[in-house]
């Protein structure tokens, strides 16, 4: 008896919520404009996904309050892909085929992007994402021949610098601003993210006529890199590039200090918080690139509106979500249509989209942004400080 009551209650709740959804006022005959999103709302990177969602919702709220697009309200259709490539493909297919969204905002993780990219090429509903792995946007990319990336996936777009572009930012900064000539690097061979950054770094260094004197690898589970670092110490290089995950980067700098290495550390965007706590003063003097810095005065207004909406401070991917959904809505506006094909065309032609993080110009050949600046940050007294607010390498 009790069970029946409970079941009925549950049913009533479900029906209630369904009727609530269908009761949403429809502004025009076409109903709201649907934008899809799959993000990691659970699993290891849940915080990134949730932050991106909050940023995205804030952007949509603002657009709707200003009258929507083409007189229609915008609606976000969101699924959790749980850091799983299979779930991401399922979510994408559902968004494209059942929900009939105009475009999709993909999860931040490269693994899911690599799985969704071929599905998008078939289903032909465009995806924008922050997956740094070049293969998401240009499937034929070969890290040993980066100058010939091959054709872009027509339906996949990247809205931040790719792995090779980020490597060029820090290598360019080291060469032009810090006057470095000789380099070595230490990276996790089992991690595609680290490997692509390392190969991008080496490529840029040799392109600029500087010397990569030693490239050293370690295995994903390794925690002790003293053997490699001892070799690196003998090379007496100006800069040591360490592009791995936080714990590995922290172990590498601590061990470098113990061995008395004098090279300046150069890092990747994983050197951002909590690296300052994990590595402590050992990381002092290091430089690394990041999408943005939080002390940029031109972004302060976003802190205010985000805090008013969510009651907490925005993190990096709150900005990402706000910018990336803004990019999609801008493309819909430019296309004057919610037809995915026309939205895709508009995305490919996007020039000077003003995001908070930076101005995005899409390169039609690669579907990656060109000339998007990054902040260069440095470690000073175990704290992260801004070295350069917006930096673009002198030679791309």
């Amino acid at each position: 008896m009790k069970r029946t009551v409970l079941l009925l209650l549950a049913l009533a709740l479900i029906l209630g919520s369904v009727s609530l959804i269908s009761a949403t006022p429809q502004v025009e005959e076409g109903g709201p404009i649907k934008v899809g999103m799959y993000a990691d709302l659970s699993a290891g990177t849940a915080q990134w996904g949730t932050d991106a969602e909050k940023g995205a919702r804030l952007r949509i709220k603002e657009v709707n309050e200003a009258g929507g697009i083409m007189g229609r309200q915008v609606e976000l259709v969101l699924y959790d892909c749980k850091l799983s490539p299979t779930e991401a493909v399922k979510a994408y297919t559902r968004l494209a085929q059942q929900d009939k969204v105009a475009a999709v905002y993909g999860s931040l993780i490269s693994n899911t992007a690599l799985a969704v990219s071929p599905a998008a090429a078939q289903t032909k509903v465009p995806v924008v994402s922050r997956a740094m792995d070049e293969r998401a946007t240009t499937p034929g990319f070969n890290p040993d021949d980066p100058e010939n990336p091959g054709p872009a996936n027509p339906y996949f777009f990247l809205l931040q610098p790719s792995a090779f572009q980020q490597a060029a930012v820090i290598a360019g900064y080291a060469i032009d601003e810090l006057g470095m000539n000789t380099f070595a690097m230490l990276y996790d061979k089992g991690n595609a993210y680290a490997e692509y950054l390392a190969k991008g770094f080496a490529h840029y260094v040799s392109k600029r006529g500087k010397k990569m004197l030693g490239s050293f690898e370690f295995q994903s589970g390794d925690m002790d890199y003293k053997a490699q670092l001892t070799k690196i110490r003998e090379l007496k290089v100006d800069g040591l590039f360490i592009p791995n995950y936080v714990a590995q980067n922290a172990n590498a700098v601590k061990q470098s200090r113990e061995l008395g290495l004098t090279a300046t550390f150069l890092g990747n965007n994983s050197w951002y918080k909590p690296m300052d706590e994990v590595a402590g003063p050992a990381a002092d003097g290091a430089y690394f690139p990041n999408n943005m810095t939080f002390d940029d005065p031109s972004t302060q207004w976003f802190f205010d509106s985000y805090e008013a909406e969510w009651g907490e401070e925005p993190r990096l991917h709150s900005f990402s979500g706000y910018d990336d959904v803004g990019f999609i809505l801008e493309a819909i506006k430019a296309a004057k249509s919610t037809d995915p094909e026309k939205v895709r065309d508009a995305m490919e032609g996007t020039r000077k989209f003003e995001g908070i993080i930076g101005t995005i110009n899409i390169d039609p050949a690669t579907h990656r942004p060109v000339g998007l600046p990054m902040a260069v940050l440095r470690f000073d007294g175990a704290q992260i400080k801004t070295a350069e607010l917006k930096y673009v390498p002198k030679s791309p």
Binding site: E217, K226, E277
Partner: protein, 294 residues
Amino acid sequence: MNWNILLQQIVNGISLGGVYALMAVGFGLIFNVLKFSNFSHGGVVTLTAYIGFFLTKYLVANFIVTFLATAILGGLAAVVIERLVFRPIRRKGYPISMLIVNSITVAMLVQQFFAVTLGSDYYTYPIFIKETALHLGDLTVSKIYLLMLSISAVVLGALSYVLRKTKIGIAIRAASSDISTPSLMGVNVDFVISVAFFFSGVLGGITGYLLGMTFTVDPFVGSMILKGIIASILGGMGSILGGVIAGLLLGAAESLLIAEIGAALTPIVIYGAIILLLLIRPQGIAGRITEVKA
């Protein structure tokens, strides 16, 4: 490669080898008594790496106090594991393979527990040693590694003394050669086994603390136990001296190989060499071939 670098690489390797030796002996101790590979030792290492962190962070940021407390808690954890997981099986006389399976399960359980609860964060011990390196001419010796090596030496020396000179040590050794006879002579075998697990857990606790202090603590820190197991087998299962020699050798060989042929090929060469070595000398460096009596 000049001599200085060669020497430096050997120093690097030996200090890490000290930790391998600690793990080898902690692992070998249980193998000696119960004749099974106790993979749960890796679980104790992971658990204590976190315990050490939380003690230093929330109790007192004092090296000696937290170090000793972690070692003892590691010992107690091993005793509890034995009581809960191994003793019931042993009492019922199930085959040894059940003990092995259970020990693997415990290791995975601990690893997964920390991966789910604390895996997304980073835990770093406070800095106990300010100046990080000692310079002897061209040779750089990391103080933390030196400490690691000296602690390993002292602990293993003490254990060796206890096993040789004390009553309980002799009982453990008696149980290692044959577990049923001592009980006929009035020795409380359950108690002896508990003590063996306690010693093994203390070694695990020390290993966990040292690894946690040297590296950043993560749920997979216990997977380094594999190196300890290799050292243990290589040294001759259960021989303290053999385990120590093999641990140091393994550390030094690893360091030299990584420097010369790279991190990707090193495990292939090392594992290949171990298979070869055991084909030639199955009893390991210092082991005797003992027959497991039914």
